[in-house]
């Protein structure tokens, strides 16, 4: 047990710091993904002239590996756009972009699943298109896709391990750093792997209970 104490328990401060960075970058990336996904989805569905652009972006984000996107955002964007100027920023930008492509398609599926009759009913009582979207379409669509959105967050957490490659000091980075200091990978990497698995597992269980709850309360089919 000496090893476990020396390599893991005594390093808990560093590892927890890393975990905090992981949580932080994932939350920012998730917010970016939600905003970006909603924007892409709305443009694709309702802004005719920009639709091809939205489709190309969605497909590009979805079909490019996250690691490649991460390197691309980190090393190419600063030269082209002069931004992002920090590795942390590049990290959440890449994570956010990837997921915004997936979320755009998820949200679209949710919106398209709302029966046309509901929309027509809104118009027939004199609601404006914006009001129909906000009051009738969006709430129902969100309920249907809420579990998939939670699921997308677990994907972000899994992918976030890669930001350690661009020296963002997340949990993975701290683990690899400790391994390089002590040259004893067994305990550190095993504990960190278990931490990640438990973290992602509890998130996906939360997603499952959310899906069950919504189904029971509103009688919705699983998304």
């Amino acid at each position: 047990m000496g090893n476990w104490e020396r390599l893991v328990w005594n390093q808990r401060g560093v590892l927890l710091q890393g975990l905090a960075v992981t949580v932080e970058i994932c939350l920012i990336a998730f917010a970016v993904a939600l905003l970006g996904g909603l924007t892409l989805c709305l443009i694709r569905m309702y802004v005719k002239p920009l639709r091809p652009l939205a489709i190309v972006l969605i497909e590009f984000f979805r079909a490019t590996p996250i690691f490649v996107q991460l390197m691309w955002v980190t090393y190419v964007w600063p030269e082209v756009f002069g931004w992002p100027d920090a590795f942390f920023t590049a990290g959440w930008v890449a994570l956010g972009l990837q997921s915004s492509g997936y979320l755009a398609e998820t949200l679209r599926a949710g919106i398209e699943a709302v029966p046309r009759g509901h929309r027509e009913a809104g118009y027939s009582v004199g609601m404006s298109p914006v009001m129909v979207f906000v009051r009738i379409v969006a709430p129902q669509a969100l309920l249907t896709v809420a579990p998939s959105i939670v699921n997308q967050f677990t994907v972000i957490v899994k992918s976030s391990t890669l930001v350690s490659v661009i020296t963002v000091q997340d949990l993975m980075f701290q683990a690899l750093k400790l391994v390089n200091v002590w040259y004893e990978p067994i305990e550190i990497l095993t504990v960190v792997a278990i931490l990640y698995i438990l973290f992602v597992f509890s998130l996906s269980q939360a997603g499952k209970s959310l899906a069950d709850l919504l189904r029971r309360r509103y009688g919705l089919a699983a998304a």
């Binding site: 490019t64 590996p65 996107q69 390197m71 190419v76 992918s159 350690s164 683990a175 990497l189």
Partner: protein
Amino acid sequence: MSEALVAALNPSMFWEYRAVLLQGLAFNGYVFAAAAALALSVGLAAALARVNRARPFRWIGTVYVETFRNAPDYIMVVWVHFVLPLLLGAVLGRRIEFPPFVSAVIALGFVYSGYFAETFRAGIQSIPTGQIEAGRACGMSDRLILWRIVLPQVVRRMLPEAINQFVSLFKATTIVSLIAVPDLMYRVSMVLQQEMKPLPLYTGAALTYFVVIYLVSSLVRVVSERWRSKVY
């Protein structure tokens, strides 16, 4: 900015190293093929454990699937590459080292077996029990029922979902560059050390992956839909 944009879209640098880089892409393909074979076979075994009548099997299957489905690819690749050989070495009493390629295939194969297991299980549970009972009534063995009645239908039903997972697996093969498997990303970073021009190289890599993944997955989807609609 516009000059930089032109440089980003200028393919000449990427083209100059095309032979080296495309060989790297082939490595993505090898890792993908080997990991997919491993993931499918282990995934099927795990799915069969999860639908087994004996409770301990179901329990083990569930723990296995939840562990690997919720594990980030990168930590698993690192764990298999750096920890697993040490543990095996301690058990066998000699020094063991995995070549990067082997570690990559084992790690990705096991992670994705978790996803495939769930897809297989959903497919198996969607087969009406009456068909299995009919097989038993004609005196077929369990194995024969699995191969003749269950699996042919499962494969057709799970194909769209499985294709999504194959796409994810192929995308995940890019991280094997981090344990020095000479795939496309690894070679890009090697060329970068010489040329110091990340702009055209990473843009080229991103576009190459995008085109390959988008085209191949669209094509496979069309072909598989045609096949599915023909057999049903």
